[in-house]
């Protein structure tokens, strides 16, 4: 078996520790920056929904400020964001390189996209439900948690899947600033040293991660849709 693998993917078999290490780094970046981005994006998405025109806490100023900021950040390509945020990363996490240094641009690159996704998920809630909740005496906070968030769980899970998968793409790019992870692994060996098998194996591993996110999300969607 080992001999067979040595025949097909020789350059991967001779550095299993590095492969595991980069998978580990990818998971680390994905989980930490993903969790932070999830919470921030959820909050901003909710703020967008409640402050929009005719929202339950309509506030033109907050809505348009937030909306413009999100659009600005969304229009910056991620590679440029990586470079541009170096000083900011140093300020926040103390370093601009390595896996930890990559966290800040990953979060900043994901949150605007995710908050727009959340906004669209929450705007699928029938305004009649909000009106019904208001007529039953629910407070704005009650409406956010008991109507907007509770009633759109399947939507939220679906947009989280999409965002998580695009985040994997970003973590690969973060390898460019020494962020490590599978992207870095594939570039260093597969691209720069011509070890094509490394590239293929990396793709396969990423494919597995994507498949896992998809099926796990689908399971929650199935459980929460009625």
């Amino acid at each position: 078996m080992v001999d067979l693998l040595k025949g097909i993917i020789p350059n991967v078999v001779n550095k299993p520790d590095e492969l595991l290490e980069s998978i580990n780094q990818t998971f680390y970046m994905l989980s930490v920056s993903g969790s932070i981005a999830f919470v921030l994006g959820l909050i901003l998405g909710v703020v967008l929904i409640v402050t929009r025109p005719n929202g339950i806490l309509e506030n033109k100023f907050v809505f348009s400020m937030l909306s413009y900021t999100i659009n600005t950040f969304r229009s910056i390509p991620f590679v440029i964001l990586l470079a541009a945020l170096i000083p900011f990363s140093r300020m926040i996490v103390g370093t601009a390189i390595g896996t930890t240094g990559a966290m800040v641009p990953l979060v900043v690159g994901t949150v605007p996209f995710f908050s727009r996704q959340i906004e669209s998920a929450l705007s699928s809630i029938d305004s009649g439900l909000v009106e019904a909740a208001q007529s039953m005496g629910s407070s704005p906070l009650g409406i956010i948690f008991r109507v907007y968030l509770k009633e759109s769980i399947p939507h939220i899970v679906r947009v989280t899947q999409i965002t998580a998968i695009s985040l994997i793409g970003l973590t690969a790019m973060a390898g460019a600033i020494g962020g490590g992870g599978l992207g870095d692994f594939a570039i260093r060996y597969g691209h720069q040293r011509g070890q094509t098998d490394v590239t293929y194996v990396t793709v396969l591993v990423i494919l597995c991660i994507v498949a896992f996110i998809q099926s796990f999300g689908n399971l929650i969607i199935k459980k929460s849709s009625h």
Partner: protein
């Protein structure tokens, strides 16, 4: 119970100013079923939303519900007060991710009531609307009528004094509509709850409402006891609603085609007072020897009293016919001569 004074609601859409409700003053009595009828766009939905302040009326308007001037409350006090004023909707607005039971529990949660008490209360309400065997179902699995009954149970959970119904039967078929109307009537009689019904369906008003306000272009054009309003409508809009349930006016379309012999008169009798019934016509024959040939008749009950009338050809001696017609004028029957032969 509810007193609306000087209610205006204006929307500004860019340069357009839309006056959805204009200078409405209404008083709804405790324990009555009050109807607001009008075609779509008349402003009735906006008006009813001014009662629980889902829409806030323009400056200067006041809404008093059960002695509380709710237009003066803080938002926290208003949320408390809204528990006294429940609402049901045309499209039911049930929470799709919650079961029937969970939907009814919604207004009971976070109010310091023990969970077992909440469930007991919700179950008794579901029993009242006859759905205790569907508690585990999701709204998607229910028919329209069942959904509305869940919505009614949910609306009653906070023991409200007022129930607002916004086109509550408009999305339902005629049989189911009757079912929901019967349920509302039962709740009104059993719990003494004041009900405000918004509708464009004449049937709903006819079956249910003690008093009615007719709305057009944001204004209340007629307002009063349901029977009197429809027995003697003064506004064109009210007449149009009446025509929707009565076929009596169709005679105008066919009047020319009816052959009349010399001396015969084509007449329309309309009942405008309570307690009028068919014998008035047979008395024409017995008292005045006028022969009454009924072309058609259409009578509908409003609040248990007949409204409608008869179109007939009268034949006989000319002076007898005149005497007969004059006698009816004093008996709460409106007489219109359509054509003379």
């Amino acid at each position: 119970m509810i007193k609306l004074s000087n209610i205006n609601k204006t929307y500004y859409r860019g340069k357009n100013v839309i006056k959805a409700v204009q200078n409405v003053n209404l008083e709804i009595r405790e324990g009555e079923i009050f109807g607001v009828i009008g075609f779509s766009g008349a402003g009735k939905s906006t008006l009813v939303r001014c009662i629980n302040l889902l829409e806030r009326p323009d400056e200067g308007g006041s809404v008093i519900v059960d002695g509380v001037e709710i237009t003066k409350l803080t938002s926290k006090q208003l949320r408390e007060e809204r528990k006294e004023i429940s609402m049901i909707f045309q499209h039911f607005n049930l929470m799709p991710s919650r079961t029937v039971l969970e939907n009814v529990l919604y207004p009971l949660a976070y109010r310091g009531i023990p969970k077992s008490e909440q469930i007991k209360k919700a179950m008794s309400l579901l029993k009242l609307v006859d759905l205790e065997d569907r508690i585990e179902n999701y709204p998607r699995q229910l028919s329209g009528g069942q959904k509305q009954r869940v919505a009614i149970a949910r609306a009653l959970a906070s023991d409200p004094k007022v129930l607002l119904c916004d086109e509550a039967t408009s999305a339902l078929d005629p049989t189911t509509t009757q079912e929901i109307l019967a349920l509302l009537k039962k709740l009104n009689e059993k719990l003494g709850i004041t009900i405000v019904v918004i509708t464009h369906e004449m049937d709903v008003v006819k079956e249910l409402c003690h008093r009615v306000a007719v709305m057009e272009n944001g204004k209340v054009v007629e307002y009063g006891d349901t029977f009197s309003i429809f027995a003697n409508p003064s506004c064109e809009i009210t007449k149009r609603f009446l025509r929707a349930t009565s076929n009596l006016s169709k005679i105008d379309d066919i009047a020319d085609k009816i052959d009349l012999n010399n001396g015969e008169v084509l007449v329309r009798f309309t009942y405008i007072g309570k307690g009028v019934s068919e014998p008035v016509l047979s008395s024409l024959t017995s008292q005045f020897s006028v022969i009454v040939n009924i072309i058609f008749a259409d009578v509908t009950l409003i609040g248990g009293n007949p409204i409608g009338g008869t179109v007939a050809i009268l034949s006989g001696d000319k002076s007898d016919i005149e005497k007969a017609l004059n006698s009816l004028d004093s008996r709460n029957v409106k007489v219109e001569v359509i054509r003379r032969g």
